[in-house]
């Protein structure tokens, strides 16, 4: 049974505002196009320095962000200053100084088990006060960015509320609501909000500190026995090292991690937290292990117990073979002779819909499913010939789609930039595009001299605003 919701006067809410966001998602199959405009609503927290904090997903691919103070009849325009996709946070600015009148940051609180208050609104003038019970700190998996994030769990909330709702305890901010399932709200911890606000805008990495490895339980005593580790030793088995994060520099697959700093791990990777009890060790990255600090890791390696020192490091986006581009990022592409080149990304796979893992072309799905297994030779990205825009120059190739590009003009291509460079170095009179084994054909030929005029013709025929959008 949930707490009752009570209607509140708009003037009683000073720490939150109402957002109406118009979004126009990119069409990752035709990357110069956008899909129809859609509208979302949500809330934002008023920050100490007269900015607004909300979720990155709410403002992703926005064309217009309108913001209403509680009770406002007309909106002000907000600008998105920066986002952190891993933490799912966005910082907004409203230039009109008059907007801040009547708004106030209520101060940071320290989350603890007990009742919380949330002001929610489904329209700028329809605010209500809800209550819930904060009873747990869990480690959630953020599928979009494939990261683990400690989140507060609030139970017994009467209604589902909008994303970005500030969660308060004793009148102070302890978190920001991310999503609700049934009567449970997942709430991003205030520490993460502060870390995001303090994060230098110039730093491309996330404000989220990260463990930097994958692990599993030790399946049975034979494993430690085989590794020459005493039977009574308790810890977790390191299985993969990620290219970023805290353990990435010092740990190795096969290590048995028994202790992080002063915290002893049990067989399930849990520590005894003074506030939250038995929780996964990732929760230490909230407050106890801050960015840049050194931490001693106690491990068993090659039958010997030893201590290694790691530095707490952040999550770094785009380190995967098939990365998740930040929410709202414009897709990169390059068109040459009607051949549309794109990098394989999670965003591209998701263009097959929510069931992309069943519907996208199998080989592309396998790149994602198997990316951790070091199957490929070291490569930054998988470059695809995603479609062919039919034209006389590519006659005979027009039915190709979703093929993996291996080389262009003799150069290995590990990203769109490499494709761009390779097309500047034709092999004599021709550009030679080589596709990976398994493609419907292995080689495509484009005439170098006729390419430019064909590009102009194709651009006009298919109404493509720009023939390329590359990264920085």
């Amino acid at each position: 049974m949930g707490f009752a919701a009570t209607t509140v006067s708009a003037t009683e809410v000073q720490h939150a505002v109402f957002l109406r966001v118009y979004q126009q998602p990119y069409d990752w199959q035709m990357p110069w196009n956008r899909k129809p405009v859609r509208r979302q609503t949500g809330l934002a927290l008023v920050t100490p320095n007269q900015r607004l904090l909300t979720t990155a997903e709410l403002v992703a691919e926005h064309t217009l962000v309108e913001v209403y103070r509680p009770g406002d009849r007309y909106p002000s325009k907000a600008t998105v200053l920066r986002t952190d996709d891993a933490l799912n946070l966005a910082l907004l600015e409203v230039e009109d100084n008059a907007f801040w009148s009547g708004l106030e940051f209520p101060g940071w609180g320290k989350a603890q088990k007990g009742e919380v208050q949330v002001a929610t609104a489904k329209a700028p003038d329809r605010w209500e006060q809800q209550a819930g019970m904060l009873d747990e700190l869990k480690v959630g998996y953020r599928l979009r960015t494939e990261t683990w994030i400690p989140v507060l769990q609030v139970q017994d909330v009467k209604d589902s509320g909008p994303a970005g709702a500030p969660v308060l305890q004793e009148g102070r901010v302890i978190g920001l609501a991310l999503k609700q399932t049934d009567e449970t709200w997942s709430v991003l911890h205030a520490t993460h909000l502060q870390q995001f606000l303090e994060h230098p805008p110039s730093n491309p990495n996330s404000a989220l500190t990260h463990r930097g490895f994958l692990w599993t339980r030790v399946p049975q005593p034979s494993v430690t026995n085989h590794a020459g580790i005493p039977a009574a030793t308790v810890g977790i088995w390191i299985t993969r090292i990620l290219p970023f994060g805290t353990g990435s520099q010092v740990l190795r697959p096969g290590d048995l991690l028994t202790q992080l700093g002063a915290w002893t791990l049990n067989a399930d990777g849990q520590i005894k937290h003074p506030v939250w009890g038995s929780v996964l060790f990732d929760t230490l990255f909230l407050e106890e292990l801050t960015l840049g600090t050194a931490i001693e890791l106690r491990i068993w390696r090659n039958g010997r117990e030893q201590t290694v020192t790691a530095t707490v490091r952040p999550f770094e986006p785009n380190q995967a073979l098939v990365p998740s581009e930040p929410a709202g990022a414009a897709p990169h592409y390059l068109v040459q002779g009607g051949l549309l080149f794109q990098e394989l990304s999670l965003n591209y796979l998701r263009s097959w819909g929510s069931e992309w893992s069943k519907r996208a072309p199998l080989r592309l799905r396998l790149y994602k499913a198997l990316e951790h297994a070091a199957l490929e030779t070291p490569s930054q990205r998988v470059v695809l010939l995603t479609h062919v825009l039919p034209d006389a120059i590519n006659l005979g190739y027009q039915d190709l789609s979703h093929e993996v590009v291996e080389q262009i003009n003799g150069l290995d291509v590990s990203g769109l930039e490499a494709v761009h460079k390779a097309f500047q170095q034709p092999q004599g009179k021709y550009h030679v595009i080589r596709l990976r084994p398994g493609a419907d054909r292995r080689r495509l030929i484009l005439p170098a001299r006729a390419l430019e005029s064909a590009n102009r013709r194709i651009q006009e025929t298919f109404r493509i605003p720009q023939l390329q959008r590359l990264g920085s």
């Binding site: 994958l214 396998l366 005979g396 084994p437 398994g438 292995r442 080689r443 495509l444």
Partner: protein, 498 residues
């Protein structure tokens, strides 16, 4: 273009099995009488294995089909009609008691089989049907058979609407010439003759669920190739050139290759290792002619009255025969000849019939060979299995193993506790030795040095090895088999470890 359709995305194009029948027709009375003296109804009690629990069999199930006499004492039908047979009955028209038949030869690659009935009285009053040739497009054909197992011989008529290469559903990966007709196709007609002017022009064998009124039959050249193949007492299979080719419709590509103006030909993209073409043809060759027939830019040749895929020429040949090509290599015309071989892959690539799955159980760990049947028996497509089955050979041919061994599941016991949820662990090494096959793994397990304490199974796909105490596993092995009702600890088709 490919000869073999190995990729699952192409499976969407696959056709449903089972065949012919339908509406009343206008066969000439004499033709019908001739056919009635040759066509028989078949009932096959088939039983297939459970590929997820390979020591078990599924319940036997009856299925019906059609066959016809092609030579005195020999009945021709489709392979899928008689696959996995436990008992095969032949029903002679107007004779209530069925006869027991046995399969004399089967060609799963081209979905054909020959049957024989031991009782000589069965053949009394039956007359073989003569073979015709390839029918002409739009010509009328009659299909005869027993749709849904009915007692009366049914016949339907239609026209030949297409003659081209297509996938044979029964093996799943083989592509051969097939003839499309608008004759209705229903289950039970499979294996029946398709007749034109009193002569057999094909064997009905599959339909297409996505198209209305479309059925397919196996053309006579492939049937006659099957019969000739058997003349030496064994079936070698349809030979395979072993190349992947692509069209040269793009004029820039032709110019890049320096092909003379007006020349046809197809580009060789890839040579399959161990194939007929290996060592003779090369990637980037252009095939200009096959056995003197010019190959056009789309890979077609004029064969009899047809414009058809150039593979037609190889399809009619036998393993061991030669095939000549005129090719374009290094800006010159050259003539080369290759000796035809069977496809360069094993049973695991095709749908498997009449062959029980291999397995090996050790301490509750169930090892199987990765096969097409095992892959398709999984509830969901398993990424690692999919890569190993479909892509390794293509992308990393040098890393191919004789057999891919999979730790399929673990039968829970105290000695393997902790691994009981493990599924489909593709095995690379056992105690630091690369595992080449199930039989190899069996020999490694049976010849462990006495000092070995642990069994260590590793996979490059999985960072977590499976490590078990050798003695605990061994001591529980027999009890595990008893607990799970398994009588045989292994079934291995290969006799040697390597």
């Amino acid at each position: 273009m490919r000869r073999f359709e190995r990729f699952p995305m192409r499976l969407a194009l696959l056709l449903s099995l089972f065949i012919i029948a339908a509406s009343p027709l206008h066969a000439a009375p004499r033709e019908r009488q001739t056919v009635e003296q040759a066509v028989v109804r078949l009932t096959n009690y088939q039983q297939s294995p459970n590929w997820n629990a390979p020591w078990r069999m599924k319940p036997p199930q009856p299925s019906t089909g059609t066959g016809f006499l092609v030579e005195p004492g020999l009945i021709l039908t489709s392979a899928h009609v008689v696959s996995d047979s436990r008992m095969l009955l032949v029903h002679k028209p107007s004779v209530p008691e069925p006869f027991i038949a046995k399969v004399m030869a089967v060609a799963h690659d081209s979905d054909l089989a020959l049957l024989q009935v031991e009782d000589p009285s069965f053949y009394e009053g039956l007359t073989p049907l003569p073979f015709g040739g390839l029918p002409v497009l739009q010509s009328r054909v009659q299909a005869y058979g027993y749709p849904l197992g009915g007692e009366e011989l049914s016949h339907t008529a239609g026209v030949v609407s297409r003659i081209e290469f297509g996938t044979y559903v029964h093996p799943g990966v083989d592509s051969h010439l097939l003839i499309q007709t608008d004759t209705a196709i229903n289950p039970g007609n499979s294996g029946g003759p398709v007749v034109q002017e009193g002569k057999v022009v094909g064997v009905a064998f599959q339909s297409n669920l996505k198209l209305n009124d479309v059925g397919y039959f196996i053309p006579v050249p492939l049937i006659q190739r099957f019969l000739r193949d058997l003349e030496d007492g064994s079936y070698d299979g349809v030979p395979e050139i072993g190349i992947q080719t692509s069209t040269l419709l793009n004029r820039n590509e032709r110019a890049f290759l320096g092909l003379p103006e007006g020349a046809g030909g197809v580009h060789v993209d890839r040579i399959l290792s161990r194939s007929s073409a290996a060592g003779v043809l090369q990637a980037d060759d252009v095939l200009l002619e096959i056995e003197g027939l010019p190959i056009d830019l789309a890979g077609m040749v004029h064969h009899q009255a047809l414009l058809v895929d150039f593979y037609i020429v190889a399809e009619g040949r036998q393993v061991g025969e030669t095939l000549s090509f005129v090719i374009w290599r290094d800006h010159q015309r050259q003539t080369v000849a290759l000796t035809l071989k069977p496809p360069p892959f094993g049973h695991e690539v095709r749908n498997s019939y009449d062959r029980l799955p291999e397995y090996l159980i050790h301490g509750g760990l169930v090892f199987v060979a990765l096969t097409r049947n095992y892959l398709q028996a999984q509830e969901q497509l398993h990424p690692v299995l999919a890569y190993e089955h479909w892509y390794r050979e293509i992308e990393q041919p040098n890393t191919r193993r004789k057999q891919r061994v999979v730790l399929a599941r673990v039968l829970p016991a105290s000695s393997n506790s902790g691994y009981t949820e493990l599924r489909n662990f593709v095995l690379d090494q056992f105690n630091n030795t690369p595992v080449q096959s199930l039989a190899h793994l069996d020999s490694l397990l049976r010849s462990l040095p006495s000092e070995t304490e642990h069994l260590v199974f590793t996979s490059h796909w999985n960072p977590v090895p499976v490590i078990l105490n050798r003695h605990e596993i061994a001591s529980e092995h027999d009890a595990i088999l008893r607990t799970y009702g398994i009588t045989e600890t292994k079934r291995l088709h290969r006799k040697t470890g390597l």
